[in-house]
Symmetry: C2
Subunit: 250 residues, 2 copies
Amino acid sequence: MLVPFRRQVIADDLRSQITTGRLQAGERLPSEAQLAARYAVSTPTLRNALALLQAEGLVEKVHGKGNFVGQQRSRVTYLGGGRTLFADLADDPTQRVSIRSSAVQAHGPLPPLLEVPTDSPLMEYLCIRHVGGTPHSLASIYVPQELAPEVTPTEAPSYAELEGQLARCRRVVAIRERVSARLPSPEETAVLRINRSLAVLAIARAAVDGKGRVIAGVLLVLPGDRADAYFITQLTTTGEQTTREQRRQG
Amino acid sequence: MLVPFRRQVIADDLRSQITTGRLQAGERLPSEAQLAARYAVSTPTLRNALALLQAEGLVEKVHGKGNFVGQQRSRVTYLGGGRTLFADLADDPTQRVSIRSSAVQAHGPLPPLLEVPTDSPLMEYLCIRHVGGTPHSLASIYVPQELAPEVTPTEAPSYAELEGQLARCRRVVAIRERVSARLPSPEETAVLRINRSLAVLAIARAAVDGKGRVIAGVLLVLPGDRADAYFITQLTTTGEQTTREQRRQG
DNA sequence: GAGTGGTCTAGACCACGAG
DNA sequence: TCGTGGTCTAGACCACTCA
């Protein structure tokens, strides 16, 4: 960074105004044209500066309305290795999970995740988590139809009912989770109403039963400005093999 | 996505050329000016298209040389919950880890991670993992000086020596890891030679001893196009409390 | 319809890499 | 020196929101 990029200078200035409280949470920023004039830069440069802040969750852009200081979103923590996807759901009455179910065929990342052949029949449950009325994160649950025929209702269940059905149909003895960082797909930007420059945490999660079969797979998408994942591992040594125990946070 | 953005159309076309093999791995793309002329768009629009592909790891930009088809970087898997940071280091002779040590004071995310007061003295070990001669990922190891006085050599140790010193000085019984997705800082883009639009996986890792003290903290930065994190959890139920065992991948 | 952000243009100038 | 990518300009046009 030999050159002090204008967008960085502008972003630093606006960031300090936000963190020091001179710009209150939820407050609307001046229009991009006004800000561009104030900093004596072109609109693309100012927009690049705002994109930096938006990627940090400090600024939220609303098409046709303006730029707003981020609502200091309470970060939601996804607890890894658990039996449930939304461990903290019951704590907050403003949260709800909408579900849309459909029959699909295994494609893309699903065959290796579920260890099923390509195009094998699956039930898909597209879960959208809402916090305070706005979309928060996505979870696509996939269940092989031959492994869980009882989890194929014609009516979409509530999320709690779906969790119960999944828990009953077979015993989960292991969870495998692959975590990666990427930018959202255009569909994810539309559904989650996030900017394409906001990194997301993508978690591919497989629940394994006692026979080593994957009985359910989940593709989680957590926007990086409002969620992270937490893993706790208890270590114990038993000879050559390393065994780990993990205890739920108190 | 009502409008088929030109950058998306261009990115889709180039992506298909890469995935179908018409553009070979490592091959140099035509210059941005040539590509802009071919697709009849302006240079910023073409660069936006390339940025999409770069964020997917399909294209690598080299200042002054050109754009190249991604070397199909073998994704490195960070194994969560382990005693070592680089579990797969010994497998690949082209990999090495450079270390630069210095004494610092706890700041930023370090006090809550290490559970120490702000400005308390720490030893910092800035580890840069190289694969095939190019930077791959970052790991900043922090050790409270009063908890590990023996880990303060004047000479920077090798990474293996550092691991050994950390393992000897106190017994680690638990690992806590917080995983988040974000865009890289300007410093990280410079050190890792990545584009600012490439999402990174940021892992804050704390190693806890038998008395609940954090004896070492690590801030990991893994570029999203070449690394992800993997967690395996074995589940066993013991009454009300949920206990999990985790076993190393075979 | 007025104001806003979203996308794109057709250049300019600078920094980097190789000959 | 030359070609390359990196940054930025000063607009244009469209889509969205709200009065």
